[in-house]
Symmetry: C2
Subunit: 200 residues, 2 copies
Amino acid sequence: MRDMSVAVAEEDRRREILDAAVSVVVERGYAAARVSDIARRAGTSTGTVHYYFPTKVDVLDAALQHASERSHQRHRAELVTLTEPREQLLRLIDLQLPDADVADEWAIWLEFWNEARRRDELRERNHEIYTRWVSMIESIVRNGQRQGQFRQDVDPADFALRFAGLFDGLGIQVLLQPSLENRWRLRAALREVVERELLA
Amino acid sequence: MRDMSVAVAEEDRRREILDAAVSVVVERGYAAARVSDIARRAGTSTGTVHYYFPTKVDVLDAALQHASERSHQRHRAELVTLTEPREQLLRLIDLQLPDADVADEWAIWLEFWNEARRRDELRERNHEIYTRWVSMIESIVRNGQRQGQFRQDVDPADFALRFAGLFDGLGIQVLLQPSLENRWRLRAALREVVERELLA
DNA sequence: CGGTCGTTTGACGCGTCAGTCAATCACCCA
DNA sequence: TGGGTGATTGACTGACGCGTCAAACGACCG
């Protein structure tokens, strides 16, 4: 019982530190993030941060993982509330437009990619995460085809890859120039792809 | 005459330093680049680097600009050798696939975007550069339409934006997983967009 | 040849920051 | 109550790297 309650507190503290780390990475970037920033934002001390994570790299990598997990769960949670594949895809678009909190998520992706370029473990991690994201889209498309709502002559894996790619590429520019106009264009471009390629 | 020759030497030295800086950024990343790395790779001393560029940020920013300029010139030089808009677009694809040297260029873009996220001047710079890249595509499309080779019912600006976005998004993943398979998929996806959307 | 100016050098000073550690705290249990 | 355990603190140390600067270099000129 004691062990349980301590374990829970431990997990909470860990999560607090990771949340803090994520927001520091968003603000200062992966490479410029300081342990003291993370500690301050988590309302604790550098000693405690090191108590939970041996080195700074450990905190930051865990933070990236943490953020990507949260993002994935958010997507899943929203998708199960919808039954129509078409609605699911459109919702996915709106869920991931670089607005407010989601812009922070995009920032994390950029940092992630950048860091992954130089480190094998992160490259692998990115590959898993990206594959999961593409698979999510792919399975929606497959569902749509099975239900006869989407065209049958489209390769789901191929479509999913292109959809994700288009999303990322335009998303980066929207992140950097987040005007209403640009956000709207991103949304319109993605919806148009869905309409044009999946619906007869 | 003396001034002239000195000025030329000065420019050479500057360029050497910038080339060195680019390769250090590719290797270690913008944030982790050290003045001493740049000096060593340029075959000179840290003092000299600071003689030409007051601060490290000045070198790095100039290096980003330098790399983007070189990339743009490379595109222009290749395009003028072709007359058919269709050929120009297809060449552009092959010119920019993340292979060998070009992978370094992609790395620079990632670093650039990442850094731009936090700094207004770089955001503006990125906007100019990106606009120039999209405009290049757009004007090829316009040419193709004028010559009757491309469909008339496509908005060139819109197409160019989507084409560039798709290129970037998929390009990042190819950069991180540079398998033959992935490179081929990127190329095929882009060529297909050209075929499907621009050619009747 | 001696002086001037632009260039180059690298040792040094100074600030910064990750990670350590001894001390303290808080909680529980015997 | 007293002792044990896990959690927390922040001062400290050692490493590191930017930017400075005094000294040297070398090309040219009067």
